[in-house]
């Protein structure tokens, strides 16, 4: 049984049918990526999975536990943690305070200290800047902070919404390198990306999403070779 099972989800914004029966599975230890054009419904899918949007039908299970009707803060406790689109760090708080906020659901001090240590080993830059106001960090550092903050919440699975958005190409490489390292250290990741090329390089499997439906899914390597994917998402002709 897959770790995260999203089955036949239908999500609406008012009358707009944004997700039309989507099923996605993520196995423990995997990176799975969802690629798709603007407005395909990628963010909607992540928001539904983390309880922010409620699906009209379908189910979401984590390790067999039914999460579909839970409120977002309960979903976080269950182990699904989002790194929101556009970073969204707390700009007026310091780096340390941001990380502290990430640990909101966990009151075990020793565990939080260990998590902090882990985040600082992963992102030494954050340790150097731990007292700096987060709003003054560079874009890349902010993305590191957003990831670090999510890690503080003891995620079983991390949902990342376009971590490379708005970053210079040099930094994008760094971000994907970090994602790979995170995964090697044992975190399961569901990654939404427009940068399909990079996403398919780190992921094991991928789903192609188009106007609210899954077009097809496959292992990452064959997807990257797929004629249609190459045309539509990798910009090749």
């Amino acid at each position: 049984m897959a770790m995260l099972e999203i089955r036949d989800i239908h999500t609406y914004y008012g009358n707009i049918h944004a997700l039309k029966g989507i099923s996605v599975e993520v196995e423990r230890g995997e990176i799975v990526t969802i690629i798709g054009a603007n407005g395909a419904g990628k963010s909607t899918l992540l928001k539904t999975a983390s309880g922010i949007l409620r699906p009209r039908s379908g189910s979401i299970r984590l390790e067999g536990r039914e999460l579909t009707r839970l409120a977002p803060h309960e979903v976080v406790r269950e182990g699904i943690v989002q790194v929101p689109e556009g970073r969204r760090i707390f700009g007026r708080l310091t780096v340390l305070e941001n990380l502290d906020m990430g640990a909101f659901t966990c009151s075990d001090r020793r565990r939080n200290a260990a998590n902090l240590e882990r985040v600082f080993t992963l992102f030494p830059r954050l340790k150097e800047r731990s007292r700096q106001v987060a709003g003054t960090l560079s874009g890349g550092e902010q993305q590191m902070l957003a990831m670090g903050r999510a890690l503080m919440a003891n995620p079983k699975i991390l949902l990342m919404d376009e971590p490379s958005m708005g970053l210079a190409p040099v930094l994008v490489d760094g971000i994907f390198e970090t994602i790979r390292r995170l995964n090697e250290a044992g975190t399961t990741i569901l990654l939404v990306e427009q940068n399909a090329r990079m996403a398919l390089q780190v992921a094991r499997r991928g789903y192609v999403l188009q106007s609210g439906s899954i077009l097809f899914s496959d292992a990452a390597a064959p997807l990257a070779e797929n004629e249609m994917v190459r045309k539509a998402y990798l910009g090749e002709h």
Binding site: I52, V76, F90, R92, T105, V133, T136
Partner: protein, 567 residues
């Protein structure tokens, strides 16, 4: 301040601003209203002082700009140009008043005030010359002040502030001081007529300047010394400090007399209300403009439960108090539920409406048998403990003080707790707060409920203090005033609430002439705050950081904090 863009005459633009301010002050009558008070008897009336200090302040800003863009010479030039420009505008006003009858439109443009601007000279020319010379000297003095090194600059400022403050509050300070035995003799010498005596002013100026300079020079060493003390010694010192504070607070109403105690109770009620609203607006970032509704609910609950006039119940104050707070909390939740999804402006409008609904309900004729209608409800009993009755302001003071301590303590504990952290996250970014596992519904409702409970508590005390409740005591201006108190004090900061309440509620109570200009002063204070000190008088740490990030000059302790001797 932004560095000056190339301006041919440095300080001219600020000088015109200063002149416009002074002309406005003159024309709206505030100068004349204040000319009854004197700062230094026979030398400077408060009306003149208002013009002088406003001018000095703006000229100081002009000099500051000049200094930042091109050094000392430019600063001096900017100060002088600013002063002369301001005086020129005032002079122009005087000339205009001779040419046309301004009073037909501006009823406050009286001959007396123009005579004052001419330094009581019979002839126009010498008067105008004196006015111009004063502008020039004041501008030069302001620039000189800016050019002083920090320590003497602060000393002079402290001296001026003390002299101006004590001078204008002569009518409240002098009677109190003169009743204090040996201090009375000194007070008799320091004060004279309706202001300070010349000698007294000089003495006070020197004393404040010396104290400020001594603190600047020795303060660091003193703090270092305290830090070097053993833990036991430090605890002892802290205990002594607290004991002294408790003693002062305990004897305050007796020492200050009836009138000032009344003022203190009003300030205290605003502190209570402010601490409550601070939880909603400052901690959780929910802009609530209907806050007065809970104040009304607290007041009316006590009135209905205790007043024999309605005759439903006749509980005592203490029995009614828990109900008042409870109903406040319930109302807070009831208001909170429908507005859970609203943010910012929408939330402000919705809560504003809620405040009005409550006021209109208690005003309504059909609910009159239960809520008293426009006549309100009277005969509300005073609170009592044993034989001690909280009858007059000197007694109610203790009730309010206890309330402030209770509410302050609870706020402080809440702020540093888990829920305080949740509020901070909600304030910074709701969506992300949710993604961090924070229960938005619970966090928001708790903020509304706590704030409302505090507001209802102050309402209950208010009802018992006044002895009756009327719908018109609960209009939207109360909500606005409380919000102003928090903003001026520093949003989210608890000491800021106290500072803000004294500045915005206490001072106008003492300077009764302000009453007519209260809104003007609030508006001016808010604008000045936004321009000069957007983080508030005693800001909360997060906000101070945000607003001063990237500032090159190391930010010393805020003046309010320094004056209050914060460690």
């Amino acid at each position: 301040m932004r560095p000056e863009t190339s301006e041919r005459l440095p300080g001219l633009s600020l000088g015109l601003v200063a002149g416009a301010c002074l002309v406005l002050l003159t024309l709206i009558g505030i100068v004349e209203a204040f000319s009854q008070r004197e700062i230094v008897s026979g030398v400077l009336s408060m009306g003149e002082g208002l013009l002088l200090f406003t001018g000095l302040f703006i000229a100081y800003l002009a000099a500051d700009r000049g200094l930042r863009s091109a050094g000392a010479g430019r600063a001096l030039a900017a100060g002088i140009v600013c002063g002369v420009a301001a005086a020129a505008l005032l002079g122009g006003l005087v000339l205009l008043s001779r040419a046309v009858n301004l009073r037909q439109v501006l009823i406050n443009a009286s001959p007396a005030v123009f005579q004052m601007l001419l330094f009581q000279q019979e002839e126009l020319l010498p008067g105008l010359a004196l006015l111009g010379a004063t502008g020039l000297l004041a501008g030069a003095a302001a620039a000189g002040l800016r050019l002083l090194p920090p320590v003497p600059r602060k000393a002079v400022t402290a001296g001026l502030v003390l002299v101006a403050g004590l001078g204008m509050l002569q009518d409240t300070v002098y009677p109190v001081l003169s009743s204090w035995g040996p201090l009375g003799d000194i007070a008799d010498w320091v004060f004279e007529g309706l202001g300070l005596s010349r000698g007294g002013a000089l003495l006070l100026f020197l004393a404040a300047a010396a104290a400020s300079a001594a603190w600047a020079v020795k303060g660091q060493a003193l703090r270092g010394g305290i830090e070097k003390l053993s833990p036991a010694g430090r605890r002892g010192l802290r205990f002594a400090g607290l004991a002294l504070l408790a003693f002062v607070l305990a004897i305050l109403p007796q020492a200050l007399g009836l009138f000032l105690s009344e003022v203190l109770t009003i300030v205290g009620l605003y502190v209570l209300l402010g601490l409550g609203l601070n939880i909603v607006v400052g901690f959780a970032g929910l802009l609530d403009l209907g806050y007065v509704a809970f104040f009304a609910i607290g007041s009316y609950t006590v009135a209905i439960l205790t007043s024999p006039e309605l005759g439903f119940f006749s509980l005592g104050f203490w029995q009614a108090l828990p109900f008042a707070v409870l109903f406040g909390v319930i109302a807070g939740v009831l208001l909170g539920i429908p507005v859970l999804k609203m943010r910012g402006d929408y939330l402000a409008i919705a809560t504003l409406g809620f405040g009005e609904i409550i006021r209109i309900l208690v005003l309504s004729d059909s609910l009159r048998p239960w809520l008293g209608g426009a006549q309100g409800i009277g005969k509300i009993p005073k609170a009592e403990i044993g034989a001690f009755e909280f009858a007059g302001p000197q007694e109610i003071y203790y009730l309010i003080l206890a309330g402030c301590f209770l509410v302050g303590f609870i706020s402080w504990r809440l702020r540093d707790s888990r829920i305080g952290r949740a509020w901070m996250a909600v304030r910074e970014d709701e969506d992300v707060a949710q993604a961090m596992g924070i229960n938005l519904v619970a966090a928001k409702l708790l903020a509304f409920a706590t704030g409302a409970g505090f507001s209802a508590l102050s309402g209950a005390i208010f009802a018992s203090k006044i002895g009756s409740v009327y719908p018109h005591s609960f209009n939207v201006m109360i909500s606005i005033n409380i919000l102003c108190v928090i903003i001026v004090g520093g949003i989210g900061s608890m000491p800021g609430v106290i500072v803000g309440a004294f500045a915005l509620v206490g001072l106008p109570e003492l300077l009764r002439e302000f009453a007519e200009y209260r809104l003007l002063v609030y508006g001016a204070a808010l604008v000045a705050m936004m321009l000069l000190r957007p983080e508030g008088l005693w800001p909360e740490a997060t906000r101070r950081r945000e607003l001063h990030e990237g500032e090159i000059e190391p930010q010393a302790e805020p003046p309010a904090a320094a004056a209050a001797g914060r460690p």
